[in-house]
């Protein structure tokens, strides 16, 4: 059952992406509204996919790569829908929806069977660890998109090109503000994710910190974002520098999440995927 909901959600994210593309082309407000409607329905279907999988599996479905990718995408769309309520940055969805769609496609290509839970994952803390970490990551995805948009828009304005791109992207201050706000939410969540992970590690392996590649890389990610937050708060970093840092931070997020699993062996590689 969960796979049907999952597929349906993926389809809607695809159509949402197309609607957003059309919006960017024609700058017609109705299209962005349509896109939001489509992905909202997609989000509901996706939520049902997660719930049914939870019921079918009997555990929180964040235990293998298929599940994590799907969960990550779900969070991204959730964050997007929330950001849409507060900020009038319609074009944001045109960045986030395709990312969520890619994650879904990737998840779709992976083994989707529900397997008995590995003993090491049978922990009260494990779901919390994953939920916090992914919520943080999803918010950082938003920060990343803001950073990319900021750099493009800044380049347009600096090079005095006031063309189609400038018109489609939001004002600089809004991008910077959204980037900062999301950082303020994302950072504590990432921190919580790492702490709950450490607690879980203590239960699972008997040590809070094992210096396995995943842990090392999440520490690197954490340090990058900590540095960005620190510079923003004290030196008044903003704009370009902050945008570049947000992009670097997100690359670290991606590597921690995917790169480590695929390239580096370690304790987190508890299943093939």
């Amino acid at each position: 059952m969960n796979i049907h909901f999952f597929k349906f959600a993926s389809f809607l994210y695809l159509f949402g992406t197309l609607a957003y593309l059309a919006y960017i082309l024609f700058l017609n407000g109705a299209l962005s509204k349509l896109a939001v409607m489509i992905i909202s329905v997609g989000f509901v279907s996706h939520t049902l996919a997660l719930i049914t999988r939870y019921v079918e599996a009997g555990y929180t479905p964040v235990t293998n790569l298929h599940e994590s990718l799907s969960f990550f995408a779900w969070m991204i769309i959730g964050i997007l829908l929330m950001a849409n309520l507060k900020y009038k940055v319609k074009v944001l969805g045109a960045f986030l929806t395709p990312i969520a769609l890619l994650l879904m496609l990737f998840a779709f290509a992976l083994p989707k069977e529900i397997l008995p839970l590995a003993p090491v994952l049978k922990s009260f803390w494990h779901p919390f660890h994953v939920i916090f970490a992914f919520l943080g990551n999803a918010i950082f995805t938003l920060t990343f998109c803001c950073g990319v948009m900021y750099l493009i828009q800044e380049h347009q304005l600096k090079s005095k090109k006031m063309g189609a791109i400038t018109k489609r992207l939001p004002p600089l201050n809004l991008l910077d503000d959204l980037s900062y706000q999301s950082l303020k939410f994302g950072f504590p969540l990432l921190t919580l994710g790492i702490i709950t992970g450490a607690v879980w590690a203590e239960y699972a392996w008997g040590r809070y910190w094992n210096w396995d590649p995943k842990e090392t890389w999440s520490l690197i990610t954490w340090l990058l974002y900590a540095a960005l937050l620190h510079q923003r708060l004290t030196v008044g970093w903003r704009g370009r520098k902050a945008a570049i840092m947000a992009i670097v931070g997100f690359l670290a997020v991606l590597f921690t999440f995917l790169g480590v699993n695929l390239l580096l062996p370690g304790l987190h590689a508890y299943s093939n995927w």
Binding site: Q153, K158, K160, M162, P171
Partner: protein, 446 residues
């Protein structure tokens, strides 16, 4: 009835002639009444702005009406027709419809897409309604024109971006700061250029104006005008620290603001973005200043380039707008052509239908034993016969473009079949009601 427009605009007539022929507001009622008094004119309306003077009219005698209107313009303004006849254009029928649709959509304006013209046309229409010189045809025409203007505005991006240097500056500021509300502008120099640019930013929502000038007195007087604050020229640094936007237009022969100074200022500002608009010639601000992070520097040429881009955009959008106009002209002309013949067609159909029903009833009452199936067959047979008979004349009526021929056919039909005289007015009123219903439905749907 034929629609026509006689007039001139910024393309056909120089300002001197336009001035001579313009109708001031206080004379409008009088002028409208005088045009209406012309026997050839059934309905009329006058549009008079600084860029155009146009008389719209509905008439049954096109040639005479054109002549009368030209005479009227000459007589009313006491200008010999010879002096301005070359500047006049005349559009009749479909072309007149297209003309007013284009004018209302600002496709015929000097500044493409400027929004004032629609209001001016609405004003002209209101005038003609007050003195009752516009009737059902102009009424319908104008409502369609407003509808077209609205479509053009919402379906194309013709009016989205500013085409003047000042509006380009406002647009850029909005891309940097999001909104101009609660923003501060520092004017360096108290000349006319500064004032003009500042005025635009204030109307864009800027909250506070700081003025600094070598002659302090002039800074004070300009500051007073904007209810702003004057700074001594030596205090410029203070202003640079506080402001979000700087407009500089002094006569200084060398750079007034250099790279190193702004680098320092940016530290004091904690890197808060700043937007420099250098409209001085020679320039006041060292170009390298624009390389500093969070500093955006535009000089007058840059702004002009942005404005030109916007003009190009508008021209592209104008092509799409023309397609909308074309579409609406066809719709209007179809409706308008059907005006003369439709009441007759309706009456003719009704007459035949009445005959058919009566005869059918007679036959059916003579044969009460007919089955339902047979009754239905009779029904179908009689309907088919009248449809076949009516088809050629109705098609002919609908396709006759020439008014004289159409009138001939109409008179003949009325005489031959003894159709009741159904006035155009009642028909128009009905069409109007339907139109309004349709439009409110459309708005509900949107």
């Amino acid at each position: 009835m034929e629609l026509l427009v006689v007039g001139l605009n910024h393309n056909t007539a120089p300002i001197e002639i336009r001035e001579c022929l313009a109708f001031s507001e206080d004379k409008m009622e009088d002028a409208l009444a005088k045009v209406h008094a012309l026997p050839s004119i059934k309905e009329n309306m006058i549009v008079s702005t600084c860029n155009r003077v146009e008389v719209y009219a509905a008439t049954r005698e096109t040639e005479k009406a054109i002549h009368d209107l030209k005479e009227f313009l000459s007589r009313y303004h006491g200008v010999s027709l010879k002096d301005f006849e070359k500047s006049l254009y005349t559009h009749v029928g479909e072309e007149a419809v297209r003309h007013i649709f284009r004018v209302a959509s600002s496709l015929d304006s000097m500044v493409l897409g400027e929004p004032q013209i629609l209001g001016q046309i609405k004003g002209a229409y209101d005038f003609s309604q007050q003195v009752n010189t516009s009737g059902l045809i102009l009424h319908r025409l104008l409502h369609r024109a407003f509808h077209v203007a609205k479509r053009v505005r919402t379906e194309t991006k013709i009016a989205i971006s500013g085409v003047s240097v000042s509006s380009a500056a406002v647009e850029l500021a909005e891309k940097i700061f999001g909104t101009l509300e609660k923003k501060t502008v520092l004017l360096i120099g108290a000349g006319e250029m500064c004032e003009l640019a500042a005025r635009h930013l204030v109307s864009g929502g800027v909250e506070k104006i700081l003025v600094t000038n070598r002659t302090y007195e002039r800074a004070i007087s300009l500051a007073q005008e904007f209810r702003g604050e004057a700074l001594l020229f030596e205090e410029m640094g203070l202003g640079l620290k506080k402001t979000d936007i700087v407009i500089s237009a002094t006569n200084s022969p060398q750079y007034l603001i250099g790279h190193d100074r702004i680098t320092k200022v940016m530290k004091d500002r904690k890197q808060k973005p700043i937007f420099f608009i250098d409209i001085a010639d020679p320039r006041d601000i060292e170009p390298k200043v624009g390389d500093i992070e969070n500093v955006y520097l535009y000089n007058i040429d840059d702004l002009q380039k942005v404005a030109n881009e916007n003009i190009k955009d508008r021209q592209k959008e104008a092509q799409r707008a023309e397609a909308i106009v074309q579409d609406e002209v066809l719709k209007f002309v179809n409706w308008y052509r059907s005006l003369d013949v439709t009441p007759t067609i309706v009456a003719l159909r009704k007459k035949f239908e009445e005959i058919r029903k009566k005869e059918l009833e007679k036959t059916l009452s003579l044969h009460p034993d007919l089955s339902d199936k047979e009754k239905r067959s009779l029904e179908a047979l009689t309907s088919a016969i009248i449809n076949k008979i009516l088809h050629p004349p109705i098609t002919l009526l609908k396709q006759t473009n020439e008014e004289a021929m159409a009138d001939l056919y109409l008179d003949a039909l009325h005489a031959l079949f003894g159709l009741p005289e159904k006035s155009l007015e009642t028909f128009l009123k009905k069409a109007e009601e339907e139109e309004e219903k349709e439009e409110s439905n459309l708005e509900d749907a949107l």
